[in-house]
């Protein structure tokens, strides 16, 4: 009886907290509110006080960003101004958290703008996971991807012109065969390719060429000059992509821009941007390269992103989490022997295939990267 009357009721009523946000965003918002209070192109002098527990470096940073944002909004800031032109900004706090208070005009009846500020929860800076590197094969031909089959006793290696099969003999990979790939079109200058296996067999995807064949026994591929779609992460069907013809880029339905790689809903775009389907940029992803790979978090349910970055002596890979459009480091970076050629989610959810071109030898080194929890 009672229940029926509540069919259209709203959800649980809770007070809406201020959204956690970064300090620069808070400064920009406060500047916007302040400028809406004052005449356009007004000249003010800025007085700043910190009544809260905000550490001095953050307080200074906030002040500096606020000044920039105020200037950007058209206000002129001088060092001295008459009393009525003083803008008094206070970092205060109340029972709910920090409160930025700006007051302009006479002390008795100022124009006031306030911004409650919920700081982002402190990120645990200690690395939570470590990256383990297991070398697989080294070859002089470019390696685009490798796939382990038969419980790791057989390995397929994709290069721009062929797929080679290896068998593990006493801990070493012995070449057992190779199948050439029948290209109708020239390969892109930066060739990329993907090997995947599923219940139907194994598949090869290169720009302008799709091949399929049995995963067991001799390698026999049937190829066609099409760009079929395939899941970027075999354990996550949410992003199904295909190669853009003659490019080293992928395209996917529901995502309008071509991209290099994708993981956990984030896409690595030309120009170094990392963004989601809605166009929102991933914060703190500056310096990331073009290759991302999703990898299962070994410590808790969920996924992490392995991303390549440029280091002092070559590329690095590092694990990140993403919460509220914010990337957070979860591992120390691991230095690699050269630039990353390929970084793909492996057939095992907790592993990633990495191919690096050794800067000293010029060889292509394929490895498996796995994550482990730090105790």
């Amino acid at each position: 009886m009672l229940r029926a009357g509540f069919a259209l009721w709203f959800g649980i009523a809770m007070l809406q907290p201020a959204w956690p946000q970064q300090m620069p965003e808070a400064a920009a918002q406060l500047a916007s509110r302040i400028s809406s209070l004052l005449p356009r192109r007004a000249t003010v002098s800025l007085e700043f006080q910190n009544l809260a527990q905000l550490p001095a470096p953050e307080s200074l940073s906030f002040r500096s960003t606020l000044e920039q944002e105020l200037r950007r909004s058209g206000l002129e800031i001088t060092t001295a101004a008459p009393l009525e032109s003083r803008l008094r900004v206070t970092v205060s706090e109340n029972v709910r958290g920090l409160l930025f208070v700006a007051a302009a005009g006479p002390l008795e009846s100022p124009l006031v703008a306030m911004l409650p500020w919920a700081a982002l929860p402190p990120v645990d800076k200690r690395p939570r996971v470590k990256i383990l590197v297991q070398p697989l094969i080294t070859q002089s031909d470019p390696a685009l991807d490798v796939l382990l089959l038969d419980s790791g006793s057989r390995l397929l290696a994709l290069s721009p012109t062929r797929v080679a099969t290896y068998r593990n003999v006493s801990g070493k990979w012995a070449l057992t065969g190779a199948t050439s790939l029948p290209f109708a079109e020239p390969l892109p200058r930066d060739p990329r390719g993907r090997l995947e296996a599923d219940a139907a067999g194994m598949h090869v995807y290169l720009a302008g060429l799709t091949c399929a064949g049995p995963a067991q026994g001799d390698l026999k591929l049937i190829c066609s000059s099409v760009d079929d779609s395939w899941p970027v992460n075999p354990h996550d069907p949410s992003v199904v992509a295909r190669w853009l013809p003659n490019r080293n880029l992928l395209q996917a339905d529901g995502f309008r821009e071509p991209f290099y790689s994708a993981a956990s809903g984030w896409f690595a775009l030309p120009g170094g941007r990392i963004q989601d389907r809605n166009g929102e940029q991933l914060k703190s992803s500056e310096g990331w390269g073009s290759d991302l790979a999703g990898v299962q978090d070994p410590c808790r349910p969920g996924w992490l992103i392995l991303a390549d970055k440029s280091g002092d002596d070559g590329d690095q890979v590092q694990a990140f989490s993403t919460v509220d459009s914010q990337a957070a480091e979860q591992s120390e970076p691991v230095a690699l022997s050269g630039p990353v050629v390929a970084l793909w989610p492996a057939e095992t959810p907790g592993q990633v295939t990495a191919v690096v071109r050794n800067s000293k030898t010029g060889n292509y080194e394929a490895s498996r990267l796995a994550l482990a929890c730090i105790e």
Partner: protein
Amino acid sequence: MRHRAWRWLVSSSCFLAILIGATRPRYGGSLTVELSTAWSTLNPSEHLGDAIAESKREVILPLIVETLVRLDSKGEVAPGLASAWQHDADHKRWRFSLRPKVLFHDGEPLTAASAEPSLAASLKHYFGEVTVSAGGQTIVIHCDRPMPDLLQQLARTRFSVFRSSEREPLIGTGPFRVTAWDPQRRLNLSAFDQYWNSRPFIDSVIINLGASRAVGDIFDIPFAQTRRVLPEHTRIWASASRELIAIEAVRVPPETFDALDLVIDRGPMVNVLGQRRAEAAFGLLPQWLSGYAFLFNRSPDVASARQIATRATAPLLSLSYPANDGFARSIAERVALNARDAGIIVQPTDRTTGSMRLIRWSLESRDAAMELQNIAGVLGLASETSSLDSSRPEELYQAERRMLESHRIIPVLYLPDLYGIAPRVHNWSQAQQNGSFSLHLDNLWVEP
């Protein structure tokens, strides 16, 4: 036993607090609490008429009774006896799901039917046309007008869920049950073994009311008794500013009011009368609660006050303070002294009538909007504070400014609650880190 003035102990209290190590709590023992005020009824919805007694009863009752929801340390609504709630689009109909497996102190399970009578009575008393219906573990409150702040209201002790009988004056669901009640004198409590949120460490509590001595394990320290002597090693604990002392104008010409507002010098009141534990009040809400109280701060301006006062007709003003309240009398006398500097004659009086009243207002919660609304209600300015929300401080500030400009109230001081804590009481500071101002005796433990 040696006794020293508590002023000395204030400075040593931090040191003593540090000496207490982190030890696992012990169960058992009895605790004695001495409170300087007294009251005659335990009924949470019954108003006492004495602000100080009311505020002290507010800190005790939550040991016995609980509310559907509570306010956490940030003043945000959290589940209490209700584990979930919903409302309709215009906030007139609210549905609460009661927490399962909760027992009253007499062993009766908490159901909607058993909770409904006390809730309905208090809601009707304070809000008029409110109906409460019960079914199973679901309570529906239907108001005749939108009640967007109903949750904050329901967190107030006056809306506690309780029952009573001829033999038992107050049967609640809280961590302690009443074992003896001697109105105005003594309240005995014992731990409720079946308390849903785990049994208290302490077995029993004896609360002596109207006590004037600094004895017992825990005792309040009224600001009127700043020269009180305390047992050695007693720790002094001060809450956040909780009580507002203000002048309410009843019949004061606006110019005289403005002049008086400018001439009051709060500094000596803070330092001398408040023993530096008090805080000058220029706004209605303290800084820790609003975050913007500093915007109202200003220095006394005797010259301007005198100038304004000369333009006004200067009648003899009377400032009434509660009888037998020595601290309020001292404040009133100080105000009268300051007023004289501006040429305004103020006569302090303990009679109930006067052109001005010194009021003492205790915060109940950490919800700024609700507290502002409560003060506005007392001043007859409720229309200034309708639809306030604590998450929108600009609106709170504007409402508070309008109240201050209404020529109805002059804030003077904020006072904290002060308690003396005996050395054998453990876990005090941690226990008080909670949303309400109540004494969380259930989290304390004592040395044998």
